[in-house]
């Protein structure tokens, strides 16, 4: 799959990254090279092979439904760049 600069721009948008011209220039051939390398997987016969998402086959891991102490409200907010007494602050989501 050949990767173009506009593909990289589209992916940057999806990834919520801002790339300037110089970054796009540098990144496009790098991503294209890596994707071309990864394309070698297309030649592997995987017909009927069950995908393996995890090295350990896990089923439901359950524990007793008991209340446990967790992070305090204060501790959960401690690293927030902007906050008030109740929560995280973000720019207005609904704009006039």
């Amino acid at each position: 799959m050949a990767i173009s600069r506009s593909d990289v721009e589209r992916v940057a948008h999806l990834a919520r990254l801002d790339l300037d011209d110089a970054q796009l220039e540098a990144l496009t051939p790098q991503i294209a090279g890596i994707v071309a390398y990864v394309d070698s997987l297309a030649a592997v016969d995987t017909a009927g092979v069950e995908p393996m998402a995890h090295a350990v086959e896990l089923y439901n891991v359950l524990r007793a439904d008991e209340v446990r102490a967790g992070l305090s409200h204060e501790a959960a907010l401690a690293n927030a760049p902007r906050k008030d007494a109740v929560g995280f602050k973000v720019p207005a989501v609904l704009e006039g």
């Binding site: 992916v11 990254l17 790098q30 090279g33 990864v38 995890h54 896990l58 690293n79 973000v90 720019p91």
Partner: protein
């Protein structure tokens, strides 16, 4: 007494128990060593001198009072800056987390504290553990103690360099595609990636969740076992934790394995393997033969797809894990005043030009906050991996890349399952070549990724694997060999490694 930093962790523990040295003296000796040489090595991001001395004093008090002691009581340990330690900075070597203080202890740090370890400091790494050279740290470069112009490897390069330079006898690293074993090999020490799920990932800042595993660095196999025993075991806060007992490995470490079958893999000797590395690994094969082991050829036909598979799966998981860094809950947040001014100017320009399409394309303030915060906070390699992952998971490509990667992952695992029907361990090189020069590969991501050729498969298949010294190059650089074992067979792996170490001798110490 001789330089205390030269003793192994097991020897330090014996000196403490015999009352020949106090933990405060021992800790101070390591802190002094860090002060003397770390400006050159750059292994540490933060050194917690005051807290380390307090922990050491507490260990001395426990000993003096005859209280029960932990297995590492009073012994210094360095921890990669990716594991939460309550109240301490956890930066992952990223501007994104430059000011982040952990709100709780990771299970591994809690276990180290319970074992009585003295936590001397936080070691440098590739940003968010992405890289193989520790050059992707946002803060500093780490230098290989054997040759300061060379890389210590990565991503746990700081932990490996700290142990190789005797700044700590033990260190914790994490290994997603080889990030413990590769730097151990390049720094001439021992490093082990346990079976996936053997060590809790609770409180570990996630990179690729199905591959990440925490593990020990040390100068000897015995020390590796001591540190592994302290951190292994089931954790009910990690749903991927292996729910079975982790039997201590240290007590049996010196018992050789009778009738050991060592697998060698022709596929390991493909193009690109350095001649000196090959010769050193071949010599290790002969050493096992002399020790009475049976050498059996096994085939791993899908091994050559390991790096490609890894660079689909790991970035995909990373792009998902790193979506949480958006400038809202924690981490770097862009300057909002400047951002609002920028948005207002863009809107005004589009309005003045009467360009409705352009006006519509301008971000909302929240999306712009995400984009600017992420772009300012993440370094180039992290952005590259996020981009790769988002691409591999994007509509129209997910089947061709992500799903395909997961299928090849199973083929790789099946190769190992078949091989381990015939052999007990598999032996091969850890890295294709000894340590490379700093800066040599930094602009060539694909070449850097290929350094993981021999290590990624253990992560994809979830196997335990260890790297240990097996020789020196003519230019005086360490060479490492890798042993792999079936899942949960850490005891076998460590005993097999110890057999080699006993025959080969302990690796020399870097002269720094």
């Amino acid at each position: 007494m001789a330089d205390l930093t030269r003793f192994t962790a097991a020897e330090q523990r014996r000196l403490l128990d015999a009352g020949e040295v106090s933990s405060v003296e021992l800790t101070q000796a390591h802190l002094d060593r860090i002060t003397a040489i770390d400006a050159k090595v750059g292994a540490f991001l933060h050194v917690s001198s005051d807290r380390a001395l307090q922990q050491a004093a507490a260990a001395d008090e426990r000993r003096a009072a005859g209280k029960p002691l932990g297995p590492l009581d009073g012994v210094p340990v360095a921890v990669k800056d990716v594991l939460c330690d309550e109240g301490e900075l956890v930066t992952c070597a990223s501007r994104m987390l430059e000011h982040f203080r952990a709100p709780y202890d990771s299970t591994v740090v809690a276990k180290l504290k319970a074992a009585g370890a003295v936590l001397v400091g936080r070691t440098n790494m590739d940003e968010f553990a992405m890289g193989g050279s520790t050059e992707n740290s946002a803060f500093k470069k780490t230098h290989n103690p054997w040759d300061l112009t060379r890389s210590p490897g990565g991503s746990s390069g700081g932990s490996a360099a700290a142990v190789a330079a005797c700044e700590a006898p033990l260190a914790i690293g994490t290994d997603t595609g080889g990030s413990i074993r590769q730097p151990a090999a390049l720094c001439g020490i021992v490093g082990m990636k346990p079976t996936y799920g053997r060590v809790s990932r609770y409180g570990l800042v996630a990179f690729a969740s199905s591959l990440d595993q925490v593990g020990p660095f040390a100068r000897t196999v015995e020390d590796t076992a001591l540190l592994y025993d302290a951190i292994a075991g089931h954790c009910d806060r990690d749903s991927t934790s292996a729910n079975m007992e982790a039997k201590p490995t240290a007590p049996t470490i010196d018992e050789p394995l009778k009738g050991l079958r060592v697998g060698v893999v022709p596929e390991h000797y493909a193009d690109g393997l350095d001649a000196e590395v090959k010769a050193a690994v071949d010599a290790s094969v002969d050493r096992y033969k002399e020790l009475g082991a049976e050498i059996v050829e096994v085939h791993l036909p899908n091994a050559k797809h390991g790096v490609a598979t890894y660079y689909v799966i790991a970035p995909s998981e990373a792009s998902s894990n790193l979506a949480r860094y958006d400038g809202v809950h924690y981490g770097h947040r862009t300057d909002e005043t400047a951002m609002h001014a920028e948005l207002a100017a863009e809107r005004k320009a589009a309005t003045d030009a009467g360009d409705k399409a352009a006006l519509k394309k301008i971000d909302s303030a929240l999306v712009r906050l995400y984009r600017k915060s992420r772009s300012e906070g993440f370094g180039p390699e992290v952005q590259r991996r996020i981009m790769l992952g988002v691409y591999a998971l994007s509509e129209g490509y997910a089947d061709a890349y992500y799903l395909k990667g997961l299928q090849v992952r199973r083929l790789i695992r099946q190769d190992y399952d078949r091989a381990f029907e015939k052999v007990d361990v598999i032996l091969g090189p850890t890295t294709p070549a000894p340590a490379f020069k700093l800066g040599e590969l930094v602009d060539d991501p694909l070449s850097m990724y290929l350094l993981d050729l021999y290590t990624v498969a253990a992560n994809l298949a979830g196997l335990p694997a260890i790297s240990l010294p097996c020789g020196m190059s003519k230019s005086g650089l360490p060479i490492g060999m890798q042993l792999m074992a079936p899942p949960l067979e850490e005891e076998r792996l460590l005993r097999a490694a110890r057999m080699h170490e006993a025959a080969f001798g302990m690796a020399p110490l870097a002269k720094i």
